[in-house]
Structure formats: C-alpha cells, structure tokens
C-alpha cells in the first residue's frame, strides 16, 4: 500500500527554515524551523502576542520574511509574483481570527463569494454548495442574515464555511475555538477533524485552547518569545518535562513563559515620570 516514493510522501506541505521576522525593533520570529506535514492536523500554540497570526500571514504570503525560507506546496512564498501567489492561495483556505466577513453581503453571499469569483459555476450549483457548507457549520438557517446580525461565534463559523467553500488542500485556522460555547466547540473540533479526514487535506490550527486542540491535533508546536519551545505529539507534550512546555500545557501563571509584553521593571515604571 505504501508504495509512493518516500520523498513524495514526506515532503511537507509547509517547510519553514531559519525564519526571521521583525516588527520594527521587535523580533517576532528568531530563526525558526518548522514543518507542516501533509494530511495531518498541526497545531501551533503559544501565549497571546507571540506571533501565531503573524506566522499564518507569512505562510499565506501577506507578509514577507526578513530572512529564511518559507516553502508552501514546494514554492518559495516570498519570491512568488502576485499572480502566482493568487494561484497558490486558491489551494489554501484561511479562517481569520476576526472572521473578516464582507459586511455588505449576506451570510449566503459571503460563502458564495469565493465560488463566484473563481469557479464560474451556475447559480444553481453554487446554491447547493453553499448550503452544504453552511449545513456543516450548523448555520444553514442563518443564510439570509447580514454579518452585523451574527454573534461573534456565529460569524466565525460562517467564515469557516467560506474558508472551505473552494475545497482547499490546506486550511489555516486562526483561533477557531475562541468565542464558541462547549457544544459548538466540540462540533467544530469534530468538523476540523472530519474535514482533515479527506485524503491529503492539511490543517494548521492556531489556538490557545490546550484541551480541544490536544484532542484533534496530530502534532503540536509550542512557541514563545520568537522561538519554538517545544514540539511533538499531544501525548509527548503532555509528558514533557520541559518547564516551558509544562507551564503552557498546564496553564500555570508562573514559569519561564512571560505573561507580560516586554517592559521595564514594574516598580521602576510606577515611580518614573515617563508619560507614555
């Protein structure tokens, strides 16, 4: 059964080598290596503000790395022309942290948007496809609503339906679980898992939610302070004895992973006359 050549099989969908990225003077990524394997659910976890969203934007080619290489489906993202980049993106679905629905279109038209832009299918078929995707996220009944009439959690589910509308080969989920009640959280986790069951679909899930993510992820990267501080399967990480990983997995307030954005010492700051 396993007759495909090893290189073909093991070539990661996303291959990041020596990635360095700065925002002004702040180093967001410092020489990071990371692989996302085909057909798996890879989770990227880390405290707020470490650059998880930034990483997804780098993979999608919306930001360019300062140094290092990011290969997606074997193509160097930073070197693609605009047209090539758009061709690449047709194979990638992305769920934005904020949902980012188009506010002048209904739920239905939002999910239909990528289909209408890229497929030229007849309206009849688009309707069926949209209803299938909306059914999958449990919002078929909400198709006539405008985005302003949705709750935050619902908006994110619509955005998910839109992200899978073109049946992409890879889906990037930015915080899919935030703002979901326990029921839809479980459903979403199952949905992500089920979607990934389709042959050769690859998922990247960015999340803080250790529990839900551990249930569905095949492999987890833990980031902090611009570096990878741990990686492995959920089981390995759960048993890890690295203090960094322990702190994150157990949600401890004290430990090597800082809760604070870099700042001068608290006492000094309170006593100083600095305005900012």
């Amino acid at each position: 059964m396993d007759q495909t050549p090893v290189t073909e099989q093991r070539e990661p969908v996303v291959q990041i080598r020596g990635l360095t990225f700065r925002r002004g003077a702040r180093v967001i990524f410092d020489n990071v290596d990371l692989d996302i394997e085909r057909g798996r659910i890879t989770a990227i976890m880390g405290p707020s503000g470490t650059g998880k969203t930034t990483l997804l934007r780098l993979i999608g080619g919306q930001l360019r790395p300062d140094a290092g290489s990011i290969k997606v489906f074997g193509q160097e993202v930073g070197k693609l022309s605009r047209r090539e980049l758009f061709e690449l993106r047709k194979r990638i679905g992305m769920l934005f942290q904020s949902g980012a629905l188009l506010t002048d279109l209904t739920v239905f038209d939002n999910v239909a948007f990528p289909l209408r832009e890229h497929t030229g299918l007849p309206e009849r078929m688009i309707r069926d496809l949209v209803l299938i995707k909306l059914e999958a996220v449990g919002l078929r009944g909400a198709r006539g609503l405008m985005p302003s009439e949705l709750s935050g959690g619902m908006a994110r589910r619509v955005a998910l339906a839109r992200a899978i509308a073109l049946d992409p080969m890879m889906i990037l989920y930015d915080e899919p679980f935030t703002g979901q009640d326990p029921i839809s959280m479980g459903t979403l986790a199952q949905l992500i898992h089920a979607l990934n069951g389709t042959l050769s679909l690859t998922s990247v899930v960015v999340s803080h939610d250790v529990h839900e993510t551990s249930l569905i992820a095949d492999y987890i990267y833990v980031m902090s302070g611009g570096k990878l501080i741990g990686e492995g399967s959920p089981q390995t990480l759960a048993q890890s004895d690295s203090p960094w990983v322990r702190q994150f997995m157990d949600g401890l307030p004290d430990g090597p992973v800082p809760f604070h954005y870099p700042a001068p010492a608290y006492g000094d700051d309170l006593l100083s006359n600095d305005d900012a």
Partner: protein
C-alpha cells in the same frame, strides 16, 4: 532655523512619497479594471451607491443655486435694460462653472466621504486582507468598480444640477419677476454654444475622476483604526474640494483663456 528647513524637507518628501503611492495605486487599479467591465452589475451597484443617493442633494442645491442666479442676475441686468438676456446668464454660469464645480464639491462631501469610510473600514476589519487570501484582488474587485462609478456618476449629476438650475432661474426670472418667457429661452438657445456644454462636461469628467481617485486612495491607504479612518475621510473632503477648485482654474484658463 535648521529645524524649519528639515521639517520643510520632510514635509515635501512626505507629499512626494504619497503622490507616488497614489499614482502606483491608480495604475494597479486601472490594470484591475478589464475583468470588472465583464461584470457590469458590480459597477451598476456602485453607481447606485454614489450616484442615485447623491441625487436629492444635487437636485435641491441646483434648484436653489438657479433661483439665486435668477434673482441676482435680474437685479444687475435690469439696470441696463437687458433683463431679456437673463436666460443666457443663468445658463452660461451653470453650464460653464457652477454646475460642474458645485456638484463636484457636493459629490466630494456626500459620496466620496462615504467611499473613503467604507473602504477604510473594510481595511480595518480585515475584509480586504481576507479577499487577498481568497485570491481575489481587492483593487480589482472593490476599488475599480467604485472608481469607475464615481467617474461616470459626476458628469450625470452635474448635468442634472445645471438643468434643474436653469429651471430655478426660469421660475424666479419669468415666474416671479416677469421676464419675457419667449426671450428667456430663445436668447439662451442663441447664445449658449455647444462648446460651452462640451467644456462643462470635460470639467465634470475631470472632477469626477480626481475626487473619486482621492476618495478610494484615502480609504485604501488609511491607518486601519477608527481614528485613521476618520482622518482619511476628512482628507478626502478637504483634498477633494481643493483639487476641484484648483483644477477648475487650470481647465478654465485653457478653455476660455484666449
């Protein structure tokens, strides 16, 4: 002293840089235009948003401006016994100057400010970003139809403004002040040249293009925060209005200079 020179230099560089970005933005938008021409519905929707929704303010202002012209014109002309030419005066003032200029100023305040706010908010809420990730170029899908719609809408609005204005002048001059009905129209027909009308159209085409360009650029270039969007909206109205008045002088001096 050195500071002042430095600031002046920085200011000039800033303006140049912005102008460069605006030009590049325009070129990229125009490149995204052809696929939009195949989808006229997108442009028609925007024509509705910028054009039809500006109609009321254009009609009401046109009426008042025409009425004031009728009144002021009559008072001046009657001293020379030339009140029969009131129709000419009202029509020429509207077609050559007031129609294109005032409707462009109203357009900048009514439609262009809304365009900037809409695009700026789309940017702030990551809608443009999401479109890019869906392999759709927002310059083509969002900006190009709006630019085209503004460009087409203003000449039509200016024509409506002038037509309503002439009726306003007629109402005051003939209806209230007793200028001869036949003279009002026949003098106008005899003295208003087709060239006057063409020049008026050229002006409003230029104004429509410039104000809409400023509006979509300000929206697209806005800092993606509520403060940034509000500042961009102000810039659209201020820069748009100044551009209209400045351009009007330049165009007028070419058209009627000799």
């Amino acid at each position: 002293m050195l500071d002042a020179v430095q600031n002046l230099g920085r200011w000039a560089l800033n303006i140049l840089e912005r102008a460069g970005r605006a030009t590049l933005f325009l070129i990229l938008t125009l490149r995204g235009l052809p696929p939009i021409l195949a989808r006229p519905l997108l442009v028609i929707q925007q024509m509705h948003a910028v054009g039809v929704r500006s109609l009321l303010i254009i009609v009401v202002s046109g009426l008042f401006v025409g009425m004031v012209l009728g009144l002021q014109g009559y008072n001046t002309l009657v001293d020379f016994g030339a009140e029969q030419t009131l129709g000419v005066m009202v029509a020429l003032a509207l077609v050559r100057e007031l129609g294109p200029v005032i409707s462009a100023l109203l357009f900048a305040g009514r439609a262009c400010s809304a365009l900037t706010a809409e695009i700026g908010l789309m940017k702030a809420t990551e809608q443009l970003s999401a479109m890019e990730m869906m392999a759709t170029d927002p310059l083509s899908r969002v900006i190009a139809p709006r630019l085209l719609a503004g460009f087409l809408a203003l000449p039509l609005l200016a024509a409506i403004f002038s037509a309503i204005g002439v009726l306003g002048g007629y109402f005051v001059g003939v209806g209230l002040l007793g200028v001869d009905d036949g003279a009002f129209w026949s003098q106008m027909q005899a003295k208003v040249d087709p060239d006057d009308i063409y020049n008026g159209i050229i002006k409003s085409v230029a104004f429509g293009f410039v104000t809409t360009w400023i509006a979509v650029f300000q929206g697209y270039d806005a800092t993606p925060t509520s403060e940034g969007v509000s500042r961009a909206t102000t810039y659209t109205v201020v820069h748009g209005s100044l551009a209209v008045l400045g351009l009007d002088f330049v165009l007028t001096s070419f058209m009627f200079g000799d």
